[in-house]
Amino acid sequence: MAEASARRTSASDVARRRAAVRDTMPAVVLLVLTQASLVAFDPDASASTWNLLWSLSPLVPAIWLGWAQLRILRRADELERLQQLEAMAIGFGAVMLLLVTGSILDAADLAAPRQWLQLTFCGGVVAWCGALGVITARAR
């Protein structure tokens, strides 16, 4: 019981976590909806202005997520901010490495740039989130 009490999260942890969910969840839902609509209907972006705007619609939740991440960073305490920045640096390194690899493979006609860009984005996010998980687990 005493151990459970010592282990419980602080009220500021809970408040920060709730605020992060409040900031990010609508953007995640919107991102899923816009992506799903693009996959389902595959609009031709060059056919009309409306289709172009529709094709670009995932940018809105993506920018929203960037803004939410900034707010999470501002609310974080000093150790959490350091951990977040370390994880972002690792994610950035992964993106740079994948971009260089992609450009070399593309020069050798071994990679499709579009697929490689998607792989680079996913690789960066995975490296960022994975690093954050490892870094925060070590501090627990």
Binding site: A6, T9, S10, A11, S12, D13, E78, E80, T136, A139
Partner: protein, 64 residues
Amino acid sequence: MNNRLRELRAERRWSQAELADRLDVSRQTVNAIETGRYDPSLPLAFRLATVFDAAIESLFFPEV
């Protein structure tokens, strides 16, 4: 850097979470400071000194 946070917290019968609430930081941060894995910034060190009503130099001391 070593510190006496765990000892002072135990004297007051506070959990890490209670101390974290008083400092407005995460429990993880309190744990990392107590175990010497993280040295707090000067503003946080001053907040710790205020919470424990002690001088900073009585809370933190260099490793010998």
